[in-house]
């Protein structure tokens, strides 16, 4: 067994043992700490690349496709940084199958047709071996047919609404049930919450997530939802909804507000005298990572709870190393959110899958992907499920004034990804 952080000892994922025994390439399990240097000469290009990808004797080219301009650049910058860090670290360890990773970065410009155009360019013209990219569901939906048509391979980092499972995508973030259910269970159990007020930005992820949350609250927990509201993306005036919340007096505000609206929402909530540290009402969000808190200001969101799989403050060796490396590369004032960490996993999972498959061919990498394990993920041990999502833990953190989360709860076991949850449709 490779080294594993203490917090993971209780892991009893249902099929982990089976995967370990069944995996002929168990030795391929990637590790930051025990790098195995593979030599390119042992893997002739003609054998590892039979489909004409951009793989040479000493380099493999992958694509990075995020918005670096437009409104989404606020969120996607962290993902780009994490992916570049992972690539640099992998290269320092000798690359993938002895080949250095080179990358071509394209700008999706926060515009979905541009994402489609750039992904086609990466796949058709540059013949990249895989792509790390996309952030919003809309951009993923736009590139999906392109990846399926040209048989590309995408690592998608964002927590998202689920209801999708493409053979050409590995989802390194959580699908909705992984992020929602454990958090709601926790708040009902530990805080005795009876009533909920659901709030979100108006697009598919918050709406689908709230749909799942509502079903869980009403059908599985037997609690009540007092209201459900959506505001246009970019909305900056939340005083009316804050008054409505006062009127209904819910125990929990379940907020899925995103982007610039986030900043406005929390500042106005604080200014309206709703002190989240008092937990009356308690605020639970699934959309505010440390990245967002930078814009909101720690003092304005102090006391709110967030349900994620990763927080920068996680206390394990992998994460301490990761945070240190990230800050060394991108500056001391950087913060790392859930999606940034998930983006960081992309290149590592790709490396592990290629080396397990012994080939860069997309079909072989796809076949090798389920069952891939990372002991070295900053969030702890993760594993790729048959359905291309990751097994991962769900954690609840409480926002501090310094912009970090204090982890107050984590699930004992890895949560199984279930992109098409029964009973939540």
């Amino acid at each position: 067994m490779t080294k594993r952080p203490e917090s993971e000892t209780s892991t009893t994922g249902p099929s982990r043992r089976g995967v370990l025994m069944g995996a002929t390439a168990a030795a391929m399990t990637a590790s930051l700490f025990t790098p195995k240097t593979l030599r390119a000469a042992d893997f002739p290009t003609a054998e590892v690349n039979t489909t004409g990808l951009a793989v040479t004797d000493d380099a493999v080219t992958i694509g990075i496709l995020h918005s670096i301009t437009g409104t989404m650049s606020i969120s996607e910058t962290g993902s780009v940084q994490a992916e570049k860090l992972a690539i640099e670290q992998i290269n320092a360890q000798g690359g993938i199958l002895g080949r250095k990773i080179e990358y071509i970065q394209e700008d999706g410009a926060s515009d979905w047709p541009t994402f489609a155009e750039k992904s086609r360019k990466l796949l058709v013209q540059d013949k990249v071996a895989s792509v790390m990219g996309c952030w919003t569901s809309a951009s993923r939906k736009a590139v999906l047919p392109v990846f399926e048509q040209h048989n590309g391979f995408l690592y998608y980092p964002t927590f998202y609404e689920g209801l999708e499972q493409s053979p050409n995508v590995i989802y390194t973030g959580q699908e909705a049930t992984q992020q929602i259910i454990a958090g709601l269970d926790w708040v009902a159990r530990e805080k005795g919450a009876e009533t909920f007020y659901l709030l979100g930005s108006d697009y598919i992820w918050p709406r689908t997530s709230n749909k799942i949350a509502r079903k869980h609250i009403e059908n599985f927990l037997g609690k009540r939802v007092l209201g459900e509201e959506y505001y246009p993306l970019g909305h900056t005036q939340f005083n009316s909804v804050i008054n409505k919340i006062r009127l209904r007096k819910p125990d929990v505000i379940y907020a899925i507000v995103v982007g610039g609206s986030n900043v406005a929402f929390y500042k106005q909530l604080k200014a309206a005298g709703i002190d989240m540290t008092e937990e009356k009402p308690l605020l639970l969000t699934i959309s505010v990572t440390e990245d967002e808190i930078r814009g909101i200001g720690g003092e304005n969101i102090e006391g709110a709870y967030a349900c994620m799989k990763y927080f920068q403050s996680l206390d394990n060796e992998n994460n301490i190393e990761f945070v240190k490396a990230f800050k060394e590369m991108w500056g001391d004032d950087m913060v790392i959110g859930d999606v940034t960490q998930a983006a960081y996993l992309g290149p590592w999972l790709y490396k592990a899958a290629v080396e397990k498959a012994g080939s860069f061919d997309v079909d072989k990498v796809r076949e090798a992907s389920p069952g891939i394990e990372l002991d070295t993920a900053p969030e702890g041990y993760v594993k790729v499920h048959e359905n291309h999502h990751l097994w991962s833990k769900t954690r609840v953190g409480r926002a501090q004034a310094d912009g970090q989360y204090d982890v107050v709860f984590e699930t004992a076991d890895l949560v199984e990804p279930d992109p098409f949850p029964e009973g939540y449709q």
Partner: protein
């Protein structure tokens, strides 16, 4: 929806909702005043208005860092200095833009739209390269972020009061300048008849530059004030542009009073609708109402009688 509430609770909610409407109103006025001057008085469509606002917000951010670093004792009052600096920075940039670009385009008002759109792209990219793509968090002095408890149930946010105060001060001073100062007389003269104004010795070029500068400066102050309630990022300015133009057009472009009246109407409609239906639909209904009324009464609420 009001079953089971005591009358005092309801009163409290309505009081706070009324206040929410008023603070939305002052936000709209603050956004629109600068544009009302530029668009209403000069006929220039400044699509970069939002970017001038964000410049003010970034200036506030820089000042807050400076104070936190070198004068932490005075941090509580840095905001006032930041607002003045924001006015100066945006105003100077505005005057420069007028000199370099806008003054060549007065005869082609629709073209100012395209040129200033180009300008807004450039400014966005400059902000992004300078401050990074992420939002910056502007720390606000503690005394400005709380709320005043009027009764047990009614709490009035201080930042809302502050924005209102700023709005009243700016609106009054614009009104006074417009109708009492030499500059104001010159601006009105130039608006009514440029040739004649020039003939009686008004330096129309200088008046234009000053007007544009003041309009942009006010945008800067608005941006500075909005750091309290909204986000500060390279593209945040685009959030404001549609609302701002609608307020100005709905009010009747050349009338400052009209701008204020229209801001009041739109903010109250939206605030009341938001209370009863979902936010997205409230926004659509408000915009539809405004557009509908504009179709029936294209000159806006108030219009200046002018011979064109």
């Amino acid at each position: 929806m009001f079953d089971g509430y005591t009358s005092s609770e309801l009163t409290a909610i309505f009081a706070m909702q009324g206040f929410a409407g008023l603070s939305l109103f002052s936000v709209y006025v603050l956004m629109a005043l600068g544009l009302a001057i530029i668009f209403g008085q000069m006929g220039v469509i400044n699509m970069a208005h939002g970017e001038f606002m964000i410049l003010g917000a970034y200036v506030t951010y820089l000042v807050s860092i400076l104070f936190a670093e070198y004068m932490p004792a005075l941090f509580g009052i840095y905001f006032f200095i930041a607002m003045i600096l924001a006015f100066i920075a945006s105003g100077l940039l505005g005057m420069f833009v007028e000199w370099a670009m806008i003054r060549h385009l007065y005869k082609r008002p629709l073209d100012t739209l395209l040129a200033t759109w180009g300008l807004s792209l450039i400014l966005q990219q400059i902000y992004r390269s300078t401050f990074g793509a992420r939002e910056v968090g502007v720390s606000i002095p503690d005394w400005m972020m709380g709320s005043i408890a009027v009764t047990d149930l009614v709490e009035i946010p201080i930042n809302g009061l502050f924005v209102m105060a700023v709005t009243i001060i700016i609106a009054t001073s614009v009104g006074v300048m417009m109708y009492r100062s030499l500059w104001g007389r010159q601006v009105r003269a130039v608006v009514q008849n440029r040739t004649m104004a020039g003939a009686v010795g008004i330096d129309t070029g200088r008046t234009d530059r000053l007007t544009f500068g003041i309009g942009c400066g006010i945008a800067g102050v608005a941006g500075s004030a909005f750091t309290m309630i909204g986000s500060t990022g390279p593209t945040a300015g685009q959030l404001y542009i549609v609302d701002t133009f609608l307020v100005v057009v709905f009010g009747g472009a050349a009338s400052l009073l009209g701008t204020i009246a229209s801001a009041f109407t739109i903010s109250q409609t939206q605030s009341i609708l938001e209370f009863f239906i979902s936010g997205s639909m409230a926004k659509v209904l408000t915009l539809l109402t405004v557009v509908g009324i504009l179709m029936l009464r294209p000159q806006g609420l108030f219009s200046l009688k002018l011979r064109k």
